[in-house]
């Protein structure tokens, strides 16, 4: 199984989490002065997406193979709210979160009726249904996707002009930190402890009197909502929502980010997203068509020889959960 050595009785935040968090925040705050900010903003959206996915696989033991549905639906919702209703970015994102949480309630409610490997297949199938819906529905623009029109005033909270690359980055950075801290709080709350108990031994959690299904559903909705937060924000970075956002390779990609970074670790998905998005960006110009093959190869290597992932291995070396 995954590297879950988190003490179930921890009280308060361990000091090394403060150190790791400070290091991460400092790196991300310094990064835009070295790297193109829009690329970094995209990267942070994926990092938050991976963290949201990891909330399920890492802390409840549920493998969702359909998280593209939430990311994509949120992207469409956000782009629609901006392009058709002219809502300001922050309200578009709030709307996107609500949409993906509602979608999460429906898909999650059905998927938790089966366990283990079936859960993965069911989420994948429902995500494909969402994909077909996006392909056929009128308002999603079919193959073209939804663009944010150039006339749209990209002013967030009334003062942040998202046309400026740096402002855009700080805006996304703030959303990322918010989402990250929410996930940290969930995982380390009493609710999170119950989730971990379900992951470790579901029948036992049931016999202890916990409403396992209700906990799973709430966790699923939270994960979907946070994936929606990432997907809804991404629209203001990329300027559009498209079928790629909602298709199954996107679901696979977020799985790979969490796997590569370390499933069940707090910081792993961020590391996985940074590495994977950077690799893809690097390869896109040089090896175009080979990106899929290389992704698949990383998948195989990770499963065979690197199951703890980057942060999982570091945590093992310093003997502290990260």
């Amino acid at each position: 199984m995954m590297a879950h050595s988190q003490a179930l009785t921890s009280t308060g935040t361990p000091w090394h989490h403060y150190v790791a968090f400070a290091a991460m925040a400092a790196l991300l705050a310094a990064a835009p002065f070295q790297v193109y900010p829009v690329f970094l903003a995209k990267l942070l959206c994926f990092a938050l997406f991976a963290c949201a996915f990891n909330l399920l696989i890492g802390f409840v033991g549920l493998l969702s193979f359909g998280h593209a549905a939430f990311w994509g639906a949120a992207a469409y919702a956000s782009a629609h709210a901006a392009a058709k209703w002219g809502l300001p970015p922050e309200l578009c994102i709030v709307f996107a979160v609500l949409v993906s949480a509602a979608l999460g309630a429906v898909i999650g409610g059905l998927a938790i009726r089966r366990q283990g490997i079936y859960f993965a297949m069911i989420t994948l199938a429902f995500a494909q249904m969402v994909f077909f819906f996006a392909l056929q529905a009128k308002f999603t623009g079919g193959e073209d996707g939804l663009q944010i029109p150039t006339a749209y005033p990209r002013m967030a909270l009334g003062v942040l002009n998202l046309r400026d690359n740096f402002t855009l980055y700080w805006f996304v950075f703030g959303i990322f930190l918010l989402g990250f801290l929410v996930i940290y709080r969930i995982v380390h709350s009493p609710f999170g402890q119950v989730l971990k108990a379900i992951r470790e031994n579901e029948p036992r959690a049931i016999s202890l009197g916990y409403h396992v299904d209700r906990h799973k559903l709430v966790a699923f909705m939270l994960s979907a909502a946070l994936a929606g937060l990432a997907g809804g924000t991404k629209v203001f970075v990329a300027g559009s929502a498209s079928l790629t956002d909602v298709n199954w390779p996107m679901s696979g990609e977020v799985v790979l980010m969490a796997l590569l970074g370390g499933m069940g670790t707090i910081f792993g998905p961020v590391a996985g997203a940074v590495v994977l998005v950077s690799i893809e960006d690097f390869l896109a110009e040089r090896a175009g068509a080979w990106v899929t093959v290389i992704q698949g190869g990383i998948f195989v290597l990770c499963v065979l020889a690197f199951r703890r992932g980057i942060v999982g291995e570091i945590a093992r070396l310093i003997k502290k959960p990260l």
Partner: protein, 295 residues
């Protein structure tokens, strides 16, 4: 021209036949998935990619060696089975002691690799594959024109499905297989080479997928994407039917193909999603699947 339920009979029976054919592929693929899952505890995400490899192998045999449909029907599944043996021996066997999730993740990675390689080599557009001479033409049944090749696919795949059922449920080898599914340690203690059975099961399961791929080649074009979307539908079929029963897989596969075909006639907008809707309904009413055992 008379009409049935407001639809010209040619369209109705045409879609019904296409539904049966799709159902045949669903049945053959979900059968392979179920057998592999039963023995290896691996949900083989690479199944769709190997189905596509089977179709491509047939196309390559024709292009490079001039070998037609009938030799391909035997050689292509053998080639894919050989690939399956390599995959099982070098990768899958290291995962049997781990959580089932890892098998799914590994085979997902393999599917990406296989699909990506074929796309890089042959592009995304489909390659046409001729119907063998013997099965060209159509026959007039009075109410519709029946293309001979399509009739052959339905009959042949039904025969393959029933053959697989017979092999597993009625022969000695099948008995070993079922026993090893229940309790591998005990079967091993009786002197049966269980690791080799696992290898052969995987090879057999993916050979079924390749066979479906060869049969599909003349109907759909041979393209790298042909397996990727199909496997997701087959997963839904497996969830609906449950992986517990061989006959259940066959019935569910064919049945859902027909339902999908009918939806194309009467409510075309929903034809892509009808199987997922049925899956949702089954999950609400009978979560273990129509033929599933509650685990």
């Amino acid at each position: 021209m008379f009409e049935l339920l407001g639809v010209p009979p040619q369209a109705l029976f045409g879609q019904l036949l296409l539904g049966l054919i799709n159902g045949a592929f669903y049945a053959m693929l979900s059968l392979g998935l179920a057998v592999i899952f039963g023995m290896l505890n691996v949900v083989n995400f690479a199944h769709g990619a190997l189905y596509m490899s089977g179709a491509f192998a047939a196309w390559l045999l024709l292009e490079k060696l001039g070998l037609g449909y009938w030799p391909a029907l035997v050689l292509s599944p053998l080639a894919v089975a050989a690939l399956g043996i390599v995959i099982e021996r070098t990768m899958l066997r290291w995962l049997y002691q781990l959580d089932h999730l890892y098998g799914l993740l590994l085979t997902f990675g393999l599917a990406l690799v296989i699909q990506g390689l074929f796309r890089n080599e042959y592009g995304s557009s489909g390659q046409p594959y001729q119907i063998p001479e013997m099965l060209q033409g159509t026959r007039n049944l009075g109410f519709m024109f029946l293309p001979n090749y399509r009739a052959w696919v339905v009959v042949a795949s039904l025969a393959v499905c029933i053959g697989t059922w017979f092999l597993i449920e009625r022969t000695k080898l099948g008995a070993y297989l079922r026993a090893a599914t229940e309790n591998p340690a005990l079967v091993q203690a009786f002197g049966i080479n269980v690791p080799r059975m696992l290898t052969l099961t995987y090879a057999g399961g993916v050979a079924l997928a390749a066979l479906a791929g060869v049969m599909a080649a003349p109907i759909y074009n041979v393209s790298p994407q042909m397996g990727g979307d199909l496997i997701i539908i087959v997963f839904a079929v497996v969830v609906i039917g449950g992986m517990g029963s061989i006959l259940g897989s066959i019935v569910t596969g064919f049945g859902l193909g027909v339902i999908e075909g009918l939806t194309k006639v009467f409510f075309p907008e929903a034809s892509n999603t009808v199987i997922f809707v049925i899956m949702a309904i089954v999950l609400l009413i009978k979560p273990a699947g129509l033929f599933g055992r509650t685990a």
